[in-house]
Amino acid sequence: MAGGHGGDHSGAIKLYIGIFVALTVLTVVEMIPLFGLGDLPASVLIALSVVKFVVVCYFFMHLLGDHPIFQRLFFIPLLMVVATIGVLMTLAGSWSLNYRKAAVLDRAAVAAMTPEQRGEACLARAGVKDCCPEAAAPAEGAAAGSAGFDPATCQLLARHDSEAIAARYRGVWSGDCNAWAKSAITGNEYCASPGLVLDVAPAYAAVKEAASAKDPRFDGFDAKSDADKLAVLMGVGKEVYDANCAACHQAEGQGLAGVFPPLANDPVANGGKADEHINVVLKGLSGKVINGVTYAAAMAPWAQLSNEQIASVVTYERQSWGNKGEAVMPAQVAALR
């Protein structure tokens, strides 16, 4: 195709074709695992693609022999980008992940594993945060149940020193990051206080999961006497309250002046309508005037809790700290959903 244009001319064309053949060979090598003809480690595949990349840049894009400014303009940003992607993957813990491993880890297989196996499999797939929420996120809001892994294994696997994190975050601000709600303080920021944003995600999933599983303490609940029912509700209620509500409303229901309303002596909790109380927990609340004080903070809906958990926590709130409201049964919650 280069006939009649002199030696230099056809030489260039020959070089281009040679480069193309080399690139084709490299690509064919890359495709060995694609068609199941053999295995190549990821490092080799990435090295091959880097070679192809650089060859195209230097020969097809003529960086070779061109003004050096072009190399700088392109490769400095490129190296910055590669480093940035590496850092982001490290922070996201996604170096060791891939979709094939993810597929192996279906729920039935997990159920059949020992805690140690589960911990290792989970770590290989997603990092400790996905397996051991209580190890990674020790804040109050996170303790409502894990994905079912052995705590000792989790402790072993924990990349973060959970005690150190707890010490760093607790007591610094008045409230911890409140799951995925708007900031309770400003109504604005995703997480207004130094919250464990990364770490709360799996904890949140765990809370959801725990909510969907029935608490054994409620087995045969309807057949129990009223006093026994109340004992179960108050016991579970305190757990749910401490895990989810105390961060804002405080452990003794005293609230935080002007920011989070107290529940002790609250007109709804202390003998008000039970349905209204349940609705606040189910649907959230904002901009409410209570006992003459306007609260800007928005309360998130807690519909992810089970009927039993909501009945328990509402009962607990209505019968603690001097409040005198009646107990609430899971059926009432179910009716209002």
């Binding site: 490290t90 109504g187 997480c191 206080s193």
Partner: protein, 626 residues
């Protein structure tokens, strides 16, 4: 100099020059575009300032009810967005446009029409962000997505707040649209300036003879073109989440809100240097001029600017210490952040060494430059405090941070830009600004600024969170907040004086010659204001201070070639305006889609595409622009 020796004989017989408003709509002259940037940026700056005053008025006393919580959200969001994207960035762009080609001895930027395109696109982006203020009162009665139209997700727009669940209104969509438009505008200008600085320098002007302001322009443009793609993608993903229901930032769908923070701060941290480096460049021009000494260690100032720019890409996560990155990442980003103190400190000591032993002339420009050193250093010091994760955990999202970045962005960037305004006004208008009024401005701005922002350190340390719309009495925050509000109004009065001075002096200031300050760089070789073609003859440069050396020795400074020079100036063109309108239509079409349905939205997209196609083909074929 003012003899019309070489009237640009270009225009290839095109029809007469457009006049009136058309002359501005069609201009491709970097100087007129610079003025357009300056005027629109000042208008937006005033709007942002009024928003700032509203914030301070609301917080003057505890339990104030001047603004509702949701109005306050909109006001502080727009204050931040406006000041950053529509105030400081375009004010810098005004100087880039006007001064950079003059400083390198060029007749214009390399792509004059692209320059005009950048400006109009910037203006459209600013309008998209601000029009909701007018539409909100008219449309909020309609409810639905119209309930909130003014962007109200904070300038950082954190997920999940900006997701559909918590912000099911137009406000965030409008914010996305405006920012995308502004991003394209900034990047287009960035490519233009980079090529201009590399390729359009006068003969003899090696890179080390390039004035420091132009150097900082270059660094800033690299930061722009490399960091804006990150937020572009961040915003595209957010748009997909909101419009198509993907889960990039939605934890329930497997996404991670922290990814937004990464993409945002990958842009956001270089953005901080995009805001401050131009001011550093201006100060590096002003100090030597009024100290009558060369800039001490100019290559160090330049290389520290480059270093700041490079390091700026490696520290984004220091905005995210509180997300729990883990000890190793915290440590790495902490160290990288502290490293930035080194080149910054180098610059500060270079400036100090420049004024040391100089014969200082304390003009207003010089006063603002000196003020810059002091105020910026304070902001820089509190910045180093944030670099330490345990300290940052305390200060994060408190007013301490607000104090920090206002010391950097007002005490730094705005002081520098004000200095530049007083310094270059004679060049741009041919007249001096009033010095008496100027010194009053400086006194009021300095006093008002410190009174506004210094107490924020204290309330921040006392635990006052930022972005709260009101607070309770009895937490020890009342007095500082009241002082801050008083300070804000003093500051506003100072800025008002500046604007009055600007308008008055443009009409009736004392006449200034080509080089009123006895300065050193090439822009002072031209008339004040410069002729459309800037230089009758392109100078050959022998020094990094050509004009100074020509006047004071020892070297020749520069020389002018013999004989007549052919001057080609591109004719005015309406195509940049058309193209930017088309791009705006395409980007705004998804807003129309949300409001008026998919078909109407697609109609707008097609209209925008047609405009873009027409504008770009006729742009390509336009005579007089090779």
């Amino acid at each position: 100099m003012s003899a019309p020796a070489a009237v640009p004989a270009s225009h290839h017989g095109t029809s007469a020059e457009p006049t009136g408003i058309m002359s501005w709509l069609t201009t491709v002259d970097h100087k007129k575009i610079g003025i357009l940037y300056g005027v629109s940026a000042l208008a937006f700056f005033v709007i942002g300032g009024i928003e700032g005053l509203l914030i301070r008025s609301q917080l003057a006393v505890p339990g104030n009810t001047l603004l509702s919580a949701s109005t306050y959200n909109a006001v502080f969001t727009m204050h931040g967005t406006t000041m950053i994207f529509l105030g400081v960035m375009p004010l810098s762009a005004a100087f880039f446009n006007y001064m950079m080609p003059l400083q390198i001895g060029a007749r214009d930027v390399v792509f004059p029409r692209l320059n005009a395109f950048s400006f109009w696109l910037f203006l459209f982006g600013g309008l998209v962000l601000n029009v909701p203020f007018l539409l909100q009162p008219l449309l909020s009665g309609q409810g639905g997505v119209f309930t909130r139209m003014i962007p109200d997700g904070a300038w950082v727009g954190y997920s999940t707040l900006t997701g559909k669940t918590y912000s099911p209104y137009l406000s965030i969509d409008i914010w996305i649209c405006g920012l995308q438009i502004l991003g394209i505008a900034s990047m287009a200008a960035g490519f233009n300036f980079i090529v201009t600085i590399f390729n359009m320098r006068a003969p003899g002007m090696s890179m080390l003879r390039v004035p420091v302001f132009t150097w900082m322009t270059l660094v800033v443009q690299f930061l722009v073109v490399l960091s804006f793609p990150c937020i572009t993608i961040g915003l595209v993903l957010l748009l997909c989440d909101r419009t198509f229901g993907t889960s990039f930032y939605v934890p329930e769908g497997g996404g991670d809100p922290v990814l937004w923070q990464h993409l945002f701060w990958l842009f956001g941290h270089p953005e901080v240097y995009i805001l401050i480096l131009p001011a550093m460049g201006i100060v590096s021009e002003v100090l030597p001029t009024f100290a009558r000494k060369p800039l001490f260690g100019a290559p160090f100032v330049i290389f520290s600017g480059i270093t700041i720019g490079l390091l700026g890409f490696g520290v984004w996560s220091h905005h995210m210490f509180t997300t729990g990155l883990g000890a190793a990442a915290d440590a790495a980003f902490s160290v990288a952040t502290m490293l930035i103190a080194i080149p910054t400190g180098v610059k500060i000591f270079n400036w100090l060494a420049t004024i040391y032993g100089g014969h200082l002339r304390l003009t207003t420009a010089m006063l603002f430059a000196l003020g810059f050193i002091g105020m910026f250093t304070m902001g820089g010091l509190s910045g180093i405090m944030h670099a330490s994760p345990p300290v940052d955990l305390q200060q994060h999202d408190s007013y301490f941070v607000v104090a920090h970045f206002h010391y950097v962005l007002f005490g730094g960037a705005i002081f520098g830009l004000l200095s530049g305004a007083y310094y270059w006004f004679p060049k741009m208008s041919g007249r001096f600004m009033d010095e008496t009024l100027g010194k009053w401005t400086f006194a009021l701005v300095l006093l008002g600024f410190n009174l506004t922002f210094f107490p924020m350190h204290l309330v921040g340390a006392l635990g006052m969170p930022r972005r709260i719309y009101t607070y309770e009495a009895g937490m020890g925050w009342e007095l500082p907040n009241l002082l801050e509000t008083i300070g804000a109004f003093i500051l506003a009065f100072g800025i008002l004086l500046f604007l009055v001075n600007l308008v008055r002096s443009a009409k009736s200031g004392a006449q200034a010659g080509p080089n009123p300050w006895d300065a050193a760089t090439l822009e002072w070789l031209t008339d004040s204001p410069p002729a459309p073609h800037n230089f009758d003859k392109t100078p050959t440069v022998y020094s990094e201070r050509p004009v100074w050396e020509k006047n004071h020795g020892p070297g020749p400074g520069y020389s002018l070639p013999e004989g007549e020079e052919h001057i080609h100036l591109p004719p005015p063109s309406i195509k940049p305006f058309l193209l930017s309108a088309g791009v705006t239509l395409i980007l705004a079409s998804f807003l129309v889609m949300t409001v008026a349905g998919t078909m109407v939205g697609l109609g707008v997209t097609v209209l925008g595409l047609a405009t873009v196609l027409y504008a770009s083909f006729s742009w390509f074929l336009e005579p007089g622009h090779h």
